[in-house]
Symmetry: C2
Subunit: 348 residues, 2 copies
């Protein structure tokens, strides 16, 4: 069923309020989850509210979120996420990095001891929309093996970079270091679909098209040893350097197996230290125009910039609403009821 | 033929002195090129001396290198490479970034208007060997199309990250954003070998195994749109933000078609702002030990860290010398003669 954006946001806020999040937390987390839905990244969308509720029931997350600045310097900081809402920690960290970048050129804030932060583009776009470069990385529960290995050790550790300028808003990359995100394989399992070869290996290290076998095995990194190296560097910078968990010690958010211990790296870069922002914007505009004017491959009608498909989807969702499956709607309605709300999805 | 490291270095220095490099420049460039050879990256090795000589003959590079600091702030700087030796600019930039990191937590120095800098790991290792994280990116001549495109626009823009600690020296990633570096395809062409499917597309955008067709066509990025996005972000951060050339305006170093206009991003991060260095080193040691202890895939006898194969090759080269093909030796001997040196390779 199609749900209007504002209604889905309101439902998310009410569910989060029912889970004891503060007004401010509920608004932020709802915004982040619904924006993922709007951008077509439903693996990072309102589906998380159920996981969050289960995690609260298991007493494995602390809400409201108690953040603590562990170390702070002019350009750097470490934030303890208090095993609370990842979005709250990530938003605060990126805000600190942006301020530091404005004051000193670059800002780098690491987070330890937090949980799933949602789509990284939510935060890097926040930086880019304020005219600074945003960079973010996060480690995650093990699903890829080291290159040549046969057991999960590294997460699909994502990287996002957002750049102000472009034709119609920032250019934003948000990618995992695996060929596909684990969420896509979970989705295939839910939809009872097979997965293409080259996405994952089974427990024995052999190629598989069965999502269930892939989830028991390991995901393949992009570019073989390159993606392995990238995931490892992200684990070191976001997990190890932040004083958080890393490698196989990071727990999934999808099962209540204990605090996830996720570590996050945020960075902002002030463009004005390199050239005036209007000049940079003009360069970006001409750059993006050139890319879109490149000669196309056979059968291709349009060249997209990173994040452009998602931005168009976001506009479309604004106008037309968001498609929510009936099972998810049922889960959300149960959560609404649990929260004491009379709002229901699918009853317009 | 096998050439001892010190002899190859001395030959390189003499060739570079003959090309009017200062003593200091000659020593640095020789060190960088020979270290690439030692690490088994012969596509970035002494082969460049011939290209450099051709470029000087065509009056398209300025030696000695005249560096100029265009902008400088506490944590950031922009260096003009004066269309000189890339290694000289890159070394200076990373040195500045390291000092800024020590003083303020992070340091970020961009370079505009330079040339091929050799292997990025040379500079990121310099940082890691001094106990700070080194990060580096560079744009390069167009060889990949935007995703969905059919003409070269982006380079195989490399990224390197080096981390202090590990069992036997820093862990260092040095990767291009293409499935393979263009040098590997050029090497296949020189060796008259075919290339695997999945490395490149021909001019029409179709898969090819012919290195010559691939060199006329485009290279494939790692992870499809992900590698495209990564290469694009590197082009923006190293090329556009530095005020250097970017996209198709960057020229190859392999043909004297004009100044290359390469842009470079260097960054250093002071670990001590996050935790005491000895503590970080202990964490890294246990991390690396865990990775190497991972259960192995069938037929795999050992798990390698990024940069570990190269480090072992470097040790081996130290002991046994470097294998140089007869054609390359002939080129180097011609350059030695031109430089007025009586040294010759292959005459022990």
């Amino acid at each position: 069923m199609k749900i209007q954006v504002e209604k889905l946001k309101e439902a998310s806020v009410q569910i989060l309020r029912g889970l004891k999040a503060t007004d401010e937390e509920a608004a932020l987390v709802a915004e982040c989850l619904v924006r993922a839905e709007m951008r077509g990244i439903d693996t990072h969308g309102v589906y998380f509210l159920k996981l969050l509720s289960d995690r609260i029931d298991a007493q494995m997350i602390r809400i409201p979120t108690a953040l603590k600045v562990i170390r702070e310097d002019k350009t750097t900081a470490v934030l303890d996420g208090g095993n609370g809402l990842g979005q709250v920690a990530a938003h605060r960290a990126m805000k600190m990095s942006i301020q530091k970048a404005r004051d000193f050129g670059t800002g780098m804030t690491l987070i330890r001891n937090t949980n799933h932060v949602g789509i990284l583009a939510f935060y890097t776009l926040m930086a880019a929309e304020q005219g600074v470069v945003g960079i973010m990385m996060s480690n995650s529960a093990p699903s890829m093996s080291p290159w040549g290995g046969a057991e999960p050790f590294l997460g699909t550790n994502p990287l996002s970079i957002a750049i102000p300028g472009g034709l119609d808003g920032p250019v934003v990359l948000d990618m995992s270091s695996s060929v596909v995100a684990r969420g896509k394989i979970r989705r295939a399992e839910r939809m009872k679909e097979s997965i293409p070869l080259g996405w994952a290996l089974d427990e024995t290290g052999s190629p598989t098209t069965d999502p269930a076998a892939a989830l028991r095995g390991t995901l393949l990194p992009i570019g073989g040893p390159k993606g392995y190296g990238l995931a490892l560097m992200i684990d070191i910078l976001a997990g190890l350097l932040s004083g958080s968990r890393y490698g196989p010690e990071v727990k999934t958010f999808h099962q209540p197996e204990g605090p996830t211990g996720i570590g996050v790296f945020t960075m902002a870069i002030d463009i004005e230290r390199f050239m005036p922002l209007p000049q940079f914007r003009r360069l970006m505009e001409s750059y993006v125009t050139s890319i879109k004017g490149t000669r196309k491959a056979k059968g291709v009608s349009r060249i997209y910039l990173p994040g452009e498909i998602e931005r168009e989807k976001e506009k479309q969702s604004s106008a037309e609403g968001i498609e929510i499956g009936s099972e998810l709607a049922k889960d959300l309605n149960t959560l609404l009821q649990k929260a004491g709300s009379r709002l229901r999805l699918g009853e317009e």
